[in-house]
Amino acid sequence: MDFITSLGGKGIALVGAAIAAALACAGSGKGTGLAGEAGAGLVTEDPGKFGKIMILQVIPGTQGLYGFVIFFLTYLKVAGAEVSTEAGFQIFAACLPIGIGGLISAIAQGKVAASSINILAKKPDHWSKGMIMCIVVEFYAILCLLASFLMLNSISL
């Protein structure tokens, strides 16, 4: 227990912030990577579709952004403030939803985006439907962002 207290509230809060940014960004990296691989394949066949491929590729990138948003808000909150151990743990908990949810949803969304690039290759007229399917996954990342944000907002230092 003493060990935990010795870490200090701010340290624990910053670990949370780091988790929010790192996991969500790792997920987005993986997701955009999956979509990018599929996209690069299609560019070799039809470079003219690059614009649409890029749109599909960036969709799984938003989780990283959401993670960064929570990181940033946490950072602003604890920078220059006294953080009790209790508050530190609360902030840590608030950072978890977007970290974990962002990681997994970004990878899942990346897979949908990669398949949507297949739609773009085979049925280019229907590519917007692929985009809609990607946005469906996005909603859960938004919910994670909100869960983190609402928790973070309710913690007063």
């Binding site: 952004l65 959401y66 808000l73 909100l146």
Partner: protein
């Protein structure tokens, strides 16, 4: 604002009038020809299906289209994104003139393009020949010579790392009447010539095998390598010359692009007429057709048909025919916007309700609440107005622009209610300048009153769902299924009222919410009313389960209104904070202003793009899944009358 009333039309006319009649019908653009039902008895012997030249016309059309594509590729047309299609009178589409010339033109363009492809293939062949000849330049021998009377000659390569000593040693083992010399070498290969007497040729070949000796492709070419190189150079020049000539010919033909396009649209009209013809039947002297037309257009048709020797009748479709009746929605400027949603989902069945007017207010209000930002709203309004003015869109694109406009207005209003203009950029600036916390005036804010906004969203959902149920109630009563309406929708309403009364603590008898209980009992009785014995119990249990989980899920789904409202605002807020940071710490100077502008524009462009799409998808889901689930009968076939519709030109109205 309803589903257009259709009538079935049957028409018999003289065969000699066929062409004139088809042209008159396509001009009217209000009759959809349907497949004739199979004839029976005597009629079967008398009539036969019409055939047409649609297939040939389609072939011609594809020639025109590929010619246009070639021209577009060779000389991309300079036109803005917002240039509308040119408009032409309907008569222009029905003229036959110019089609033949356009086809000839198209063939000449396609021919030139094919020749260009052939030349490109030849060019790469010559280039590879040139490459393979280069290492042999120092050889002064005619390449076509592979033997003399007593010797055989081989030209070939071995990998560069092969040692000549090893090679010579291997040959010496086979015979001393064989010799191998190096002609040239580069980083990958040694280029060799081998000469031996006829008798040992086979042994020499097998001795060379282990060294990966490969025959050179230049063997058999005419003349010395230098001569051959000269020849390829000449033919490459000739190819390049012809290519430029062909390209400039194609470029000069691109001025006639519009001619091709108009002809393509004329062919489209002819194909439409030919396809209509295929749906007719004919006797020796008559043609028979059957189809659908909007009841309102009957007089228009009558005045056209008056000049024909024909017999025709119309009748309202019977209820059994409803699934076959094509559906067209009549909309005003407001509800037309929602056609985009209805068309994407599925049209309503004939004889049910048009969802657009019911959906329109909800769709637009929900959208405004989800997006809720004055700045984004202004961008949407501006984009929609520019598109409507410049593009003069039709059909689906018109619906899209209208929807963008209305949703933009709603987004602006939503932003005004929540005090958000590009999220909180104004507030951040004021705070930075005055040094005191300031925020835009707002009625409710998703960040500060998240709980209230959440409950508000759910209440909106209850209203939305109940509207759907009310529609279903009315429809059921109209169909004479009043009992079902009262037992199902009615008891749910009693439960809803009972729940509200319970919540407000009104009308409870000794603490028991009596209205709520009446509602539940009604629902259970309703569920079991057509079952017998034990079936009543299982039906009741299933009914409670379905109603409770279904309604809970449906209502909670509306929480997404609050979620999207909040998420868009928060992400924008963070971008604003990051953008304004350098100014706060480093003071206002050109550099920090530039940083602000770049981050602000990029961040909000992304947030806007994501939100405009996300809100649309989620609004769509609320309409198509939750709302439509309560009343909508889909599966209508779209009304596609015989009309002129061009790919490149619009009909002037």
């Amino acid at each position: 604002m309803a589903i257009v009333e259709m009538k079935k039309i049957r028409l018999a006319a003289m065969k000699t009038d066929k062409r004139r009649l088809l042209r008159d019908l396509i001009r009217l653009g209000c009759v959809q020809l349907a497949e004739l039902p199979p004839e029976e008895g005597d009629m079967q012997a008398l009539t036969r299906r019409m055939s047409s030249d649609a297939q040939d016309r389609r072939g011609e059309l594809s020639r025109l289209l590929s010619a246009v594509e070639i021209l577009d590729r060779a000389v991309p047309e300079k036109k803005g994104l917002l240039t509308p299609k040119p408009e032409k009178d309907s008569e222009v589409f029905l003229q036959d003139s110019g089609v033949k010339e356009a086809l000839e033109l198209a063939d000449s363009i396609i021919g030139r393009d094919e020749r260009l492809r052939k030349l490109s293939a030849d060019e790469s062949k010559e280039r590879s020949a040139q490459l393979s000849l280069q290492p042999w330049q120092s050889l002064g021998m005619d390449l076509s010579i592979d033997h003399t009377e007593t010797t055989r000659v081989l030209l070939g390569t071995v990998p560069a790392k092969t040692s000549m000593l090893d090679l010579n040693a291997a040959l010496a083992v086979v015979s001393d009447e064989a010799e191998i010399c190096i002609v040239s070498e580069d980083r990958e290969f040694k280029y060799l010539i081998m000469i031996c007497v006829n008798e040992v040729f086979a042994e020499v070949q097998s001795a060379l095998k282990p060294f990966s000796f490969a025959l050179a492709p230049v063997m058999g070419m005419e003349g010395t390598p230098t001569e051959a190189l000269g020849r390829t150079r000449l033919s490459l020049e000739a190819i390049a010359e012809e290519k430029t000539a062909l390209q400039s010919e194609i470029e000069s033909l691109s001025s006639r692009r519009d001619e091709l396009r108009l002809a393509a649209d004329r062919l489209c009209a002819r194909i439409a007429m030919a396809e209509a013809e295929e749906r007719m039947a004919a006797t020796e002297s008559c043609i028979i057709m059957q189809g659908w037309l909007p009841a309102a257009d009957e007089e228009k048709l009558a005045s056209v048909l008056a000049s024909y020797d024909c017999a025709w009748e119309t009748e309202a479709p019977s209820e059994e025919e409803y699934p076959e009746v094509p559906v067209s929605l009549r909309n005003n400027k407001f509800t037309n916007a929602l056609n985009m949603v209805t068309n994407m989902y599925s049209l309503p069945l004939y004889g049910t309700v048009d969802p657009n007017p019911l959906m329109a207010p909800f769709f637009i209000v929900f959208y405004g609440l989800m997006m809720a930002d004055m700045g984004y709203g202004l961008i949407m309004i501006a984009a929609a107005i520019v598109a409507l003015k410049k593009l003069r869109p039709r059909n689906n694109s018109l619906s899209f622009c209208q929807l963008l406009l209305y949703c933009g207005v709603a987004t602006f209003v939503g932003g005004a209610l929540t005090g958000s203009f590009f999220s909180d950029v104004v507030a951040q600036f004021v705070t930075m300048i005055t040094g005191t916390q300031w925020s835009m005036p707002y009625l409710f804010s998703p960040v500060r009153d998240s709980e209230m906004v959440l409950y508000g969203s759910l209440i909106l959902g209850v209203i939305h769902l109940n509207t759907g149920m009310a529609v279903n109630f009315v429809q059921k009563v109209k169909r004479g299924e009043t009992a079902s309406a009262i037992w199902e929708e009615g008891s749910l309403w009693v439960i809803l009222i009972g729940g509200i009364l319970w919540f407000l603590d009104i009308g409870n008898i000794s603490g028991i919410p009596i209205v709520l209980i009446i509602g539940v009992v009604m629902l259970l009785l309703g569920a079991g009313r057509e079952k017998k014995g034990f079936g009543k119990v299982t039906a009741a249990v299933a009914c409670i389960y379905n109603t409770a989980t279904g309604w809970l899920g449906d209502v909670l789904s509306y929480a997404r209104i609050m979620a999207l409202m909040l998420a868009g605002g928060v992400v924008g807020q963070v971008f604003n904070s990051v953008a304004i940071m350098p100014m706060q710490s480093g003071g206002v100077n050109p550099l920090t202003i530039l940083v602000f502008i770049v981050i602000f524009l990029l961040g909000h462009a992304m947030n806007f793009g994501l939100n405009i799409l996300g809100c649309y998808v989620h609004d769509l889901r609320l309409q198509c899944l939750e709302f439509f689930g309560k009343f909508y009968a889909d599966g209508g076939k779209p009304f596609t009358p015989l009309e002129i519709s061009g790919k490149y030109n619009n009909v002037r109205r």
